[in-house]
Symmetry: C4
Subunit: 227 residues, 4 copies
């Protein structure tokens, strides 16, 4: 079932490697079929060079495997939680990409200080709070999703398609999994540039007009950026 | 029309990718035929691996498309403004290359602190001022050109073939588009090296004699650098 | 003798190059056959592109060459010392990988500040003390092993599969040589990310609950990470 | 004439590109035949992908071209000056490699803070003084050699096979041009690692015993490093 979506998720996982966001098996991508109430996710700990589309695992909205012989990625419950609470998203990506992970380790959101950032994210990329003992030793992966959703109170996920999980790393999402991969690449790139910018000028100021302008010329109702 | 120039602009856009200055479609190059009063520019948002020379868009000096089925790059009005005001330039390049963009985000010009810089730029690479509300929400892309030209009052564009647009990224130019690409590579490299140099020694001093010497041995009337 | 192990050690040495951890011949990997009391190590100073499995050198537990026409790596006595004192390890790797070596030069252990680190190392990656005159001008390579073992008093080597040798560089190990290479890649990556994280936020705090959680979900008795 | 040496110099110049030390044509390598009193150097400003061994230029010890149809590299007089004053060297390399150039721009020598450095350089890699007006506007390239030689008063060039020219970039040398390229790679790598180490721990201390030990185990009379 969902052969086309499996192919898409498979390709998205390989794209993470192609874009240099993933070492070993440290990443996972998934996509949801909202109509069927099922999502497809990368299997856990399988090498990218032997992975096949048919290795992708299909889960239902209770997190149960409904097709596939391999275990789903251990981060599956986080993906599930995001799909349940962020209704507009169609794909989720998690990586340990170098700079975005380093900012997550620092516990600091990535500030919106340039038009590259503003083209994709309507504000800073937020960082979640520290998780407590019950969360870490209880349903850890599910509650990783919970602290993300909590952090997005008052923020539209589709306007800020990514987050840093404190001391852990980035999650991104989008209308589909291809878009989620695209946003993962953008997060890494803006994390790199923010590190350099702040080392050049710790007192830098972003022009708030540009934040509005760049996000809207690409995503607003009168968008004119791209074909 | 302008088939040779289209080929040149097409190649210049691919060269930006080859030199690692462009992620996704975040860059554009153009070239002008001063005799005909027309310039050729990359189409907006087209993937580099499917782009063809015939996709290049021809515009006139009012910014109207005179040939081509695709929309020109959204930055077209900036290119146009530069062609109108910098009479000696034949090609323009815009990228979001990592370090030059980071310096632009920092709002700080790239200081001339080494002979690599001095070989190509007769002084610091300047950064434009912040744009105001009228500029950002009016003719934004045209006025991006306007703040660049304003910043070059008293500077010869051909002696300082590049600029940082505040909170945005670098533009470069040259006698032709090949030269503009070359200068984009140089800007990125001097931005990288300036970041490192200043972290090693924030109090570093450039020998002003070397600025004059290096620029003139390559570009002065008694130039002897190169074949 | 030990043809399969030679093949494995040969491949491990090439993997170090493939992962970008080794310039020129600055690295070496070895593996032990505990049953036979013999270990196989890379020859000294041989170029990777001409090296063959049959060039691998077999040594006994006195460090004597029992097979092979080439000299073993000069670091052989360090490998030997580690095999003698760390009974659970089956492979050892030494590199001068950029960031891990830079941290070793700084004389500072790599702090456990993220889940990437915690997935593989149960605590900080320690740095050895400075070696004294007798150690440096006596049995230097053997005593490099000695200061490592000394530093691991109270630490289980298999739970912290790597170390920084002060002013020198990283050593890593594992159940087998493939695992030791894997840990060398992890050390380099966590060294990179720690550098960036600390530049973003020198006062960052790691959640101690995550250290326990991540190490145990992968290595504890109820491990559920991976297939 | 000197066809074998031309081949060697040609290959050395390509190796600089292969090792990532050279952008565009920003580098040059040469080698001397002491018996004949002639040296072979890269031509000026020729693209690497069209360059042939026969393009190499042969010069005599007055800097006159004795064979070749192209102009020698503009840095030829620096190479010549080094060959005249450093009698043990057989090859010279100049690059604008990123980190070594950044340290040169900073005007700071690269400190000997690790065994990677100590394996090749018996002390810090020195940086020359600023050049004065007469030197810069007189025989600039020759006097670039002069300030290098002046800086090496009391230092054996073969024990410290490289230098940073203030605000400019690195020169390296060796017994032959292959060795000079090797040392150029080492200089770049130790420059990278020193930048990182000092950002991790500005107060780091190198063990002086290791400086002596590592240099001597590789280059001393009882050297035992390598085959």
């Amino acid at each position: 079932m969902l052969e086309a979506l499996k192919e898409e998720v498979f390709k998205a996982n390989l794209d993470l490697v192609k874009h240099g966001l993933v070492i070993f098996t440290w990443g996972n991508a998934s996509a949801i079929d909202r109509g069927k109430g099922l999502f497809v996710i990368k299997p856990s700990g399988v090498d990218y060079d032997v992975m096949k589309p048919s290795d992708m695992v299909v889960c239902d909205m209770d997190g149960k495997v409904v097709e596939g012989t391999l275990k789903p990625s251990s981060d599956m419950p986080t993906h599930l939680y995001l799909y349940k609470h962020f209704e507009d998203i169609g794909g989720v990506v998690h990586t340990h990409s170098t700079y975005a992970t380093a900012w997550a380790q620092a516990g600091v959101g990535i500030p919106n200080i340039g038009t590259t950032h503003a083209d994709y994210f309507a504000q800073d990329i937020p960082c979640t709070r520290q998780m407590n003992e019950e969360e870490v030793f209880g349903e850890y992966e599910r509650d990783t999703g919970k602290v993300i959703v909590e952090r997005f109170e008052g923020i539209k996920p589709i306007e800020v398609p990514g987050v840093l999980v404190h001391n852990h790393g980035p999650f991104s999402w989008g209308e589909d999994v291809h878009n989620a991969v695209h946003n993962a690449v953008v997060m890494e790139q803006v994390a790199i540039m923010a590190s350099i910018s702040l080392s050049v000028n710790p007192a830098l100021k972003m022009n708030p007009l540009l934040i509005k302008k760049h996000y809207e010329r690409k995503h607003g109702k009168n968008a004119y950026y791209g074909q």
